[in-house]
Symmetry: C3
Subunit: 330 residues, 3 copies
């Protein structure tokens, strides 16, 4: 991929930039990241934790404009990106419900919208309801595009923040045991996480899912090809006692249509509560991409091993790192 | 209450801060404010009038991020808070219709939303449809929360700006006569104003309301307990001739359901027009929380005693003051 | 018109301001601009192209606040104005759907809304569904108002950017031939452009429109009175071969009601495609106000004479220029 920095502001105001370019011109999918690149991004994210509210951070992207082009609302993701940009001193143009925006409603193509919006900004964060929309937008754009979720497709910044959280909480990414729990069939989060963990060694994955939403074969085959051990289990207590990380997910009601009986059964099956926390090792953590319903009971929140709000916060650091890297390089 | 400043930006950039902490960590209800605190806040608001558009103001909250989390739209209140933050050099993350936001729609609790959003910002301004939501949010948050109206509950910054406007227009808060007119049963504005005036001495209140929306007994009893004189009247002309302040309010159609006859009768009953202004003393003023329909005729606007747009502007100064005080102290 | 600069920020931070005031206090309609004023505005817009992303630009409106008050969504126009303000270092208060905003929904007049919002900002950009709303707002406001489209009325910044684009692409505004194509009856864009071109000499206009949406007599009579030659044609190929500029527009489905047969016929009649581009002179350009449907085929986009995305970008420079001029003068 060619780099799209050519239209950058005249005055380079980043204190910390080395001038080395970031190898990606867009962030579209988890598959773009290898171990080494993840490791270097995580170092920048770690630096962002330190800089977060400092005056130095606010010079890094001073003068840059990010457009958040959201064709479906996702306030959590939008606020995380916008906070990241503003913590770095950049500015934001917001479109919260671009689907209803007059141009799209009048039948304008995504490419035309991108070619217009790129004239008003330096980087585009796109959320779309169609799988593949981010790749399509990146192909049309001469400025960087970040995929903030494209329907059933990819949500790469979520995948990166999940892996970053494991590294921050456990201290390593090799030789860990991770239990993936809940809706493993439809959750793009767990699918991407399993994919990225395939890049590390000594990984053991446990899949704990209701029958109707089991992990699909494509991921199982990929993991086997990468020498990642995995097994399916229906004993969450047992899995919890063995793992470094329990990654819980929400059972998505919208996947069940009229089968509310199946939904109710699936939803109640694997709950993380205080009794489960007693089986969890003292160094282990519970993650969740949020929002949660009752698949983690609220009395677990005060346990220091409940890491899901720290995980949400890590989304900020990952997005600060990616915005900096795409706009001003390393 | 403990103070929540611990996560403040590393570099304190307020020129005018004395280092003395503000005694409140959140602004939830009018009851938190006593005479002395109101007086000190009003001094800061007065300073904000002077600083409003100056370069100095823009350093006070430089580097701080405010999240406006609005579960129901209220553009006037939102713009007032966002203008206040930006006049002080701070930045804003906006959510205009958080009720429909995917997380809330998916069943996320307010507490979980707050614990996520506090990771992206330094202060949260919450508008909610449920009474008590602001208190609940403040309990969950480790950063300051300001209540921008929680349903039939409280709207404390409106109450403060009303009292501030009386002080600015009349020059004092003791020994004044105030006529409260219109919907006194449902208007949280007039209820809060009556409550705060109970803290001053020599106050006389007149209640002028259609029968169906009279002032409720709880406020009357509170005023009596505070030695505030009050009386009910249906002679607006007479009341206008005696008062320092006439506080007009809108009759809220939505309170009448199908009884459009009752609404029409109530709405037309007490109108402030040019003939009424002739009875008003020359130093007296007319206030209104806005928006108004026809309960004040537009030909009154050019009268210098029509103070309702100055009152709306005072909302900016009160909010600038509260944002500064909650984030960097006195 | 009197100038509304009285409430400007205390510290004048524009590096480039000469202190000479802009002759207009509001931008409401194309009729406000004569040749000389257009020429001077275009010089500022040209400077904005150079400054666009530089650090100097970011000091020009530092400390100023623009409110975008949009009673109907128009994301393209809103983002263009907001980008312009932010590139100049200013800040923005956004209202994307003010029609549903509680105050308007409760029956507040536009004048009352303006008198409130002007307390929170330094300039108002208004989009409204009613013709004449911008003029009404400007009359009520003590700060500058820019019309960003008022229903079937005016959209003067679009008219200015169209003329600016012709000057930038062709190098002159006198002695040019322009073909106006598509919906000439309802498109306020082409009507305003024809009006402004009437101020230049040696202009020849060709009108190429389906029968149901022909150019109306008022514009034809105006052009004749200004000694502008015009003729109607149904031979787009022939017109394309003669013109310096082909200005294509979208046939607006919403104008046809139930007559989908008429819409289909009108829509397919005058398409700009590769074969048409072969007839176009090498120095000529194709413009379009966007969004487009299929009235210009996408394979034309890569032709250097396809200038519509450059035209959209020029909207940024024109708006930067107008914001600067209205707020800090020449």
């Amino acid at each position: 991929t060619t780099n799209k920095h050519t239209e950058a502001p005249l005055k380079q105001s980043s204190l910390s930039s080395t001038g080395e370019m970031f190898p990606l011109s867009d962030v579209i999918e988890a598959q773009q990241f290898d171990r080494n690149l993840l490791s270097r991004i995580f170092e920048v994210a770690r630096l962002m934790e330190v800089l977060e509210k400092g005056a130095d951070a606010q010079n890094i992207l001073k003068g840059y404009l990010m457009a958040t082009l959201f064709y479906e609302p996702s306030t959590r993701t939008r606020l995380s990106f916008e906070s990241a940009m503003k913590r770095l001193g950049g500015e934001v143009l917001t479109t919260e419900n671009a689907r209803e925006f007059s141009s799209a409603a009048k039948g304008e193509t995504l490419e035309d919208t991108i070619r217009t919006v790129e004239g008003y900004s330096d980087i585009i964060v796109l959320r779309h309801f169609d799988s593949g929309a981010a790749r399509q937008a990146a192909a049309a754009a001469t400025i960087p595009v970040i995929n903030a979720g494209d329907g059933p497709g990819q949500h790469p910044t979520q995948a990166l923040l999940d892996v970053y959280t494991i590294m921050r909480e456990i201290g390593r990414l090799d030789d860990i045991k991770v239990g993936l729990v809940g809706d493993l069939a439809n959750g793009r989060t767990v699918r991407s996480l399993a994919y990225l963990l395939g890049k590390y060694s000594g990984i053991k994955l446990y899949f704990v899912a209701p029958d109707v939403v089991k992990m699909k074969d494509d991921i199982k085959e990929y993991l086997t090809s990468k020498n990642v051990e995995w097994e399916e289990s229906s004993d969450l207590m047992d899995v919890a006692s063995k793992c470094d990380v329990i990654y819980q997910t929400r059972i998505q009601r919208e996947r069940f249509g009229d089968r509310t009986d199946l939904y109710a059964e699936a939803r109640g099956k694997f709950i993380i509560d205080k009794s489960l926390m007693q089986r969890l090792q003292s160094h282990a953590v519970v993650l969740h991409p949020l929002p949660r319903l009752d698949e983690i009971t609220v009395d677990v929140d005060s346990d220091h091993r409940a890491a899901y709000f720290r995980q949400a916060k890590n989304g900020l650091y990952i997005r600060m790192a990616l915005l900096k890297l795409l706009l001003v390089g390393w």
